[in-house]
């Protein structure tokens, strides 16, 4: 009897190509799913769809040019990526940038982080089916982009940093508008909570979904908000401060549940912390030069240099191996998205398709960051 039943109702696993063009991939990530009905048996990310060989191109470019290429990696933290390259070049040249530059870089980095997290919040809502969040997030994100536009002319790929400082000084309105934005967003951030965080359906969709333990987070090299949602204290700003992070007080957002909801709360908390960092710095931006001049052709001394920064997605490391010429011999980016993606298969097995989407949303992937 059992034999007959098994034969008549034989089920089989099947493959689904999720992506490269898929609404939940936020770009062109291809996932090879093995599914049994709705239950995910295996997730295999397949990279290479938008590989632009940025690292190889860097070996051909001068150090000023490399800064511009990094915009195109994690485009939502473009300023922070630029900063990473600038810091590593400045460290190699032993170039001392002014305090003013450090403070401005930090403020704009935090604004970038806010803008990135706002976009993530909108998209997170959209991925779990609440389309309205996207527009609320963009209402507030526009204000940050306007500040960027006034300061450096660009809204997304900023190119404001150059080795030695900044391309130009901040706009006279910068301080005023940033303060206005902080005042505005302090009122609006609780609205985010009212719309999505407290929603019972949203909590059911994210709590206990895609649970990542602290041990796994460490062994897979997960960083950023994803790691901090699992209780892995890894904030580069806190433990290896750069720019002006050593002079500000802020709490590292840490949650120990390790599920999608914990990652969500980490980012919401980080938005509050970012606002607090900006408030501590914005009132007294020290006077000084906005640029320490460098030679037109920068040649790094022979040797290996490494610098890591905290982007909105996690730890971005830049490794430069120089042979003393005007181009790096080898340049390697340790991008947060790539390491975070590696854990996806591990934590989404056994869940539903909808769980995979919610997990991916809480990871906040930017595909060009994964696939350079």
């Amino acid at each position: 009897m059992e034999q007959i039943v098994n034969n008549s109702f034989k089920t089989q696993e099947y493959f689904v190509n999720m992506g490269p063009q898929h609404p939940a991939a936020h770009g062109v990530l291809r996932l090879l799913l093995t599914i049994d009905g709705e239950i995910i048996k295996n997730v295999e990310p397949d990279l290479g769809y938008i590989h632009r060989s940025i690292e190889k191109m860097c070996e051909r470019d001068s150090y000023q040019q490399i800064v511009h290429l990094t915009d195109r990696m994690d485009y939502l933290s473009s300023h922070i990526n630029n900063e990473a390259v600038c810091l590593v070049v400045e460290n190699a040249l032993e170039l001392e940038v002014s305090e003013r530059v450090k403070v401005i870089r930090t403020i704009i980095s935090e604004l970038t982080r806010l803008a990135s997290h706002q976009l993530w919040w909108g998209v997170m809502g959209m991925d779990v089916g609440a389309l309205t969040t996207y527009f609320y997030a963009f209402r507030d994100r526009e204000l940050i982009n306007d500040i960027f536009e006034e300061t450096c002319g660009a809204r997304l790929t900023m190119n404001y940093n150059i080795p030695g400082g900044l391309m130009f000084d901040i706009h006279p309105n910068f301080v005023k508008r940033t303060k206005e934005f902080i005042a505005h967003f302090k009122k609006k951030l609780p609205e985010y909570d009212r719309l999505l965080t407290g929603n019972i359906i949203f909590q059911k969709r994210t709590k206990g979904v895609g649970v990542l333990t602290k041990e796994d987070a460490i062994s897979f090299g997960v960083s950023g908000p994803v790691g901090r949602g699992s209780g892995f204290a890894n904030d580069v700003r806190k433990y290896h401060p750069y720019s002006a992070y050593d002079r500000v007080e802020f709490n590292e957002a840490l949650f120990t549940e390790g599920d999608s909801f914990a990652r969500y709360r980490v980012r919401i908390m980080e938005m509050w912390e970012s606002m607090s960092i900006i408030e501590q710095l914005i009132d007294d931006i020290p006077e000084g030069d906005y640029l320490t001049p460098t030679k037109a052709v920068i040649k790094l001394p022979k040797g290996e240099y490494y610098q890591k920064v905290e982007t909105a997605r996690g730890e971005l490391g830049v490794y430069i191996n120089s042979t003393g010429t005007k181009n790096p011999y080898r340049l390697k980016f340790r991008s947060p998205g790539f390491s975070n993606l590696s854990v996806l298969n591990h934590i989404s097995k056994g869940g539903k398709i909808a769980d995979l989407v919610a997990t991916m949303a809480s990871f906040d992937f930017v595909i060009p960051d994964i696939d350079r």
Binding site: Y14, V16, H22, P23, A24, E38, G125, M126, D127, V128, G129, A130, L131, T132, Y134, F135, Y136, R139, L195, L196, N199, I201, F202, K204, R205, K352, I353, A354, D355, V357, A361
Partner: protein, 354 residues
């Protein structure tokens, strides 16, 4: 005498005067069918526009405002575009089922529309098992969705269709049982009679108070689920399945699915209005004495309010997961509904209704 009735009566008499009786009856039927088709198209198009406007209000946007005053012709233009579009299809589809599926969906909606009492005189088909007919007809639509998903030769469409089958069959139970609760109160399955009961005793949601309110809530949840709208739009979950079962449809065939969704919403709202809010009866009988007043206006106002409520759900809530959806139905709504029917029966037995 009512204006609408006098107009239709004049046309009817005129047709019977110029033609033999048999031909005239058929002509009348065709005219009524055409009128309903027109209503169907217009209602569908303007519900789409309303949805886009409501979405815009919720999302800090303006919504369509370029084509015609307040964008009133926007959906007309969209429909024209869809009519003129090429009907593409994928490779190795089941051609017969693929072409049949949209008609299943749209015909089911259209037939269901025919029994509604829009006003006292404006009802095409007043059968004595109206409620039963509605439940029976509205469950045909899911066949179209299943066929569409199956025949498209697309795994996403198939997943969407499977979800749809699971969802509609489960929630049909809750819709049926909450309707039955109200039928218990009225003692009739005929829609016009259900409304007549409310003329003297007040709206059924007041007559039945506690169990009626529970039945209304369950009906709204299950009805939203049955129309496959958010938060139960797993069938076409955009972020998971692209467009779900109608991924491979284009042009007018896609438009059929799209229109049917909105007409289904209209149907669910109409059932709610008939069963809970007195159909075309005016609130507190304020236009009771005015004979020329077209009662269809009250019906439409009530339906629109329910529809806007459903749109409110859609633009606020995230989507449920498929197992949560089934848990909600089988573990919570269904037992609650069964208990509610017993409660209603006890209430009627003890004469506790208002």
């Amino acid at each position: 005498m009512n204006i609408t009735l006098s107009i239709t009566k004049t046309i009817n008499d005129w047709l019977f005067s110029i033609m033999p009786e048999g031909v005239a009856s058929i002509t009348v039927m065709v005219i009524i069918a055409l009128a309903y088709l027109a209503l169907f198209a217009v209602a569908g198009l303007y519900l789409v526009l309303l949805e886009r406007k409501v979405a815009a209000w919720f999302q800090l946007r303006l919504g369509p405002n370029r084509v015609g005053p307040f964008g009133l012709f926007q959906t007309m233009a969209d429909a024209l575009k869809l009519v003129s579009k090429e009907l593409t299809s994928t490779d190795r589809i089941d051609k017969f089922l693929y072409n049949l599926a949209p008609y299943f969906v749209i015909v089911a909606s259209l037939i269901a529309l025919s029994v509604f009492p829009f006003s006292k005189q404006f009802q095409a088909f007043d059968i004595n098992i109206g409620v039963f007919f509605l439940i029976a007809i509205s469950s045909i639509g899911v066949i179209g969705i299943l066929l569409a998903g199956w025949s498209s030769n697309n795994k996403y469409a198939l997943i969407g269709a499977m979800r749809s089958g699971v969802q509609t069959i489960s929630y049909e139970l809750s819709v049926g049982l909450s309707i039955l609760t109200m039928v218990l109160l009225t003692g009739s399955l005929q829609l016009s009679e259900i409304i007549e009961v409310q003329r003297t005793g007040g709206w059924l949601i007041l007559q039945g108070h506690v169990p009626a309110v529970i039945a209304f809530m369950i009906f709204m949840i299950a009805g939203t689920a049955e129309t496959n709208r958010a938060p139960f739009d797993l069938v076409e979950a955009e972020s998971e399945l692209g467009a779900g079962f109608h991924t491979e449809y284009s042009g007018m065939k896609f438009a059929y699915f799209f229109l049917a969704e909105f007409i289904n919403m209209f149907i669910i709202a109409s059932i709610a209005v008939v069963l809970f809010f007195g159909g075309w009866l005016s609130p507190f009988g304020i236009t009771e004495g005015i004979t020329w007043f077209p009662e269809v206006i009250w019906f439409m106002i009530k339906v629109l309010m329910i529809i806007i409520l459903m749109m409110w759900f859609r633009w606020t809530f995230p989507r449920l997961r498929v197992d949560q959806l089934l848990t909600l139905e089988w573990k919570y709504l269904l037992p609650l509904n069964l208990a509610n029917i017993v409660l209603m029966a006890v209430m009627i037995w003890l004469n506790w209704t208002i």
